[in-house]
Symmetry: C2
Subunit: 169 residues, 2 copies
């Protein structure tokens, strides 16, 4: 082991899976943000934690509505994932620009993202301040899967790329 | 999209990267826990969030010492990762049982885990209660990398297995 500047060690995290989160502004306009920082954080009940920068439009939306959806894009959703990570919902309607139809959720108002391997509807429970990002913790209240046989999308070397799906033993 | 019981949708998360955390009990005995739930949560300063069940020995250790190390095992560290996820540091010395020499850290007392792609020394900043797990947030105070050319280990279908490492564009 050799000590290095922290930023030089961070690429060793990759590939990490890409997560999308959908949310809604107070006028009901849906939005999508692309995340590398997401984890499950409880089994009973199932909870998810996502980390979002304070300056992001989705930060405002989730605070305003108390809802978000965690979704896992397939390996062929790299282009839309990059777009949704770079653009701001303040300026564009990402569902429209990506030709995605917002799908109705079962227990919350925020729409699901079509084409993803899974969508988890979450009700916001907690917001925690951690440096330059907030952790939102949501309780999962419903889940949806697609029949897609594709793998998840992974972040590799700073860009979104096809990820390995390994072998099932 | 088809609504399913939440537990039936969770496997769609996989493969996800495996993370190890080292910690130390109040008597200075080092321990290792295997985690699937870990994320970065701040850029400046760099912070990591890890989610640990309340019943785990590592939960006590991290609370007692206010320190932990986040480390990323290589794809050939499956066996020790399974062991460190199943056994409890209350009963065994995992470093010893896995033939791992605890390496001195630079800025904290908790040792690094040899053979990993990277080790991040963290000082505990916050503990948050989220369902049946606690989120520990730590500020990274030093980082170490190895020269290993191997990929990270991923969790596939409920067991720890070799993960895909994808292709660099």
């Amino acid at each position: 082991m050799k000590e290095v500047p922290i930023k030089d060690a961070l690429p060793k995290k990759r590939p990490i899976p890409v997560t999308l989160a959908s949310c809604m502004d107070k006028n009901g306009k849906p939005n999508i943000i692309t995340l590398g920082w997401e984890m499950q954080t409880s089994i009973k009940p199932v909870m998810f934690a996502i980390s979002i920068g304070y300056t992001r439009y989705s930060y405002e939306c989730i605070r305003d509505t108390g809802e978000f959806v965690v979704a896992y894009p397939t390996e062929d959703m790299a282009e839309m994932s990059v777009y949704c990570g770079k653009e701001s919902g303040r300026d564009v309607d990402k569902f429209k620009e990506c030709n995605l139809e917002p799908l109705p959720a079962a227990r919350i108002k925020t729409p699901l993202i079509p084409g993803c391997l899974a969508n988890f509807e979450c009700k916001l429970l907690h917001e925690y301040e951690t440096g330059d990002h907030a952790i939102f913790v949501g309780e999962c209240v419903a889940a949806h899967v697609s029949e897609e046989k594709k793998g998840r999308l992974y972040i590799i070397d700073g860009i979104y790329d096809l990820g390995g799906v390994g072998t099932k033993e």
